[in-house]
Symmetry: C2
Subunit: 189 residues, 2 copies
DNA sequence: TGTACATCAGTGAACGCGCGTTCACTGATGTAC
DNA sequence: TGTACATCAGTGAACGCGCGTTCACTGATGTAC
């Protein structure tokens, strides 16, 4: 039954990535270890060969989600600069696709209020991810760096808030309006 | 042991209000019925004399939280109009006090990502509350109503996002910057 | 390179625990006459 | 107004269930010589 080191490392990675999706899809409490391990193609007994606790997995899953956000943002920016890069990020972030697929989307939008109650390791990861997001956006503003960062912080706040609210609301019309209005307001700045 | 109708009604109200705080403080999964009933000064067995399920309580607690937000906003506005009313709301919403006391604060900030996964009744309540919040803010903008509502929607998004992020972050400095930057940006509009 | 032994990834069953929910019971309140 | 009975708010114990966690076991992999 023993697997090679490489296979074990791949398994671990698969668990983390599966968890990153399941947590975003169902919430941290809603995603049980048993379901989660099954989703990764394993039985739940093996979990503790890889992790000390569910909290540790959450911290690593948060890191994976942050990393995938970084990659998506970098891909979206591509070779664009300034306002065009910024618009590409905003369009992606406030798209209906993003709203309708929390599992592969932004960690802050999917787990925002739960992250505020998470343990230190998870919050530290989230904080680093937020700083990076802000920094990428700040790069798209010209002029004074401190001012650019301030604008980026506000923009991220608007993006996260709008995405969260668009997912709560039970009216398609209002949900779409939130995305559209935020997109236009943010692009106009 | 039987209580009078009035006492029973008061008990029910107390449970709902206690729950509204506990859910915001600990999250919907983190707040157990047993703890919650104890916090309301009761044993947990009596819960089902008042409610059909935990989900029903959540829906009513959400309504209570929404109502208390309405009251706070109305109190804050008082007799102020336009930009002054708007500034008062923003100052209150993005205050350190609000950030540090989710239990009595905005429902969207405290439970945002969990509300997106809540049942229909709870989401309907949240949607109605959001519409009211938007409407109050729209009243502070002059000119075209549709445009005022668009601006209000964006502003609420920024407020909710900034509050949520300020609670996640493990750096006091960044947390304070999020509140301050959002406040200044939003006030400048 | 081959052999003997130790390691450990993964399985599947089991553990204790706290959860939401149910229930028998108590006794004050409400109702009927 | 008084009396007899029904109602039901609240108690406290119990229920089944799924959770996170533990453990004995298997057998392929890794290590030592």
């Amino acid at each position: 039954m023993r697997k090679s080191r490489q296979e074990a490392a791949e398994t671990r990675q698969r668990i983390v990535e599966t968890a990153a999706e399941e947590f975003r899809r169902k919430g941290t409490a809603g995603a049980g270890l048993s379901d989660l391990m099954a989703a990764a193609g394993l039985t739940h007994g093996g979990f503790y060969r890889h992790f000390e606790s569910k909290d540790q997995l959450l911290a690593e899953a948060a890191a994976a989600a942050i990393q995938s956000l970084d990659v998506k943002l970098a891909d979206t920016i591509g070779k664009k600069k300034g306002a065009r890069a910024r618009k590409a990020i905003v369009d992606l972030y406030l798209s209906r696709d993003h709203r309708d697929d929390p599992a592969t989307g932004c960690l802050f939008g999917a787990l925002g209020s739960e992250l505020a109650r998470a343990d230190d390791a998870t919050r530290a990861t989230a904080t680093a991810g937020l700083k990076n997001f802000v920094s990428l956006l700040a790069d798209t503003f010209e002029g004074d760096r401190a001012e650019a960062e301030r604008r980026a912080i506000v923009m991220v706040s608007t993006l996260v808030g709008a995405l969260t609210l668009s997912r709560i609301v039970d009216s398609d019309k209002l949900s779409a309006a939130i995305l559209t209005d935020a997109e236009q307001a943010v692009s106009a700045r």
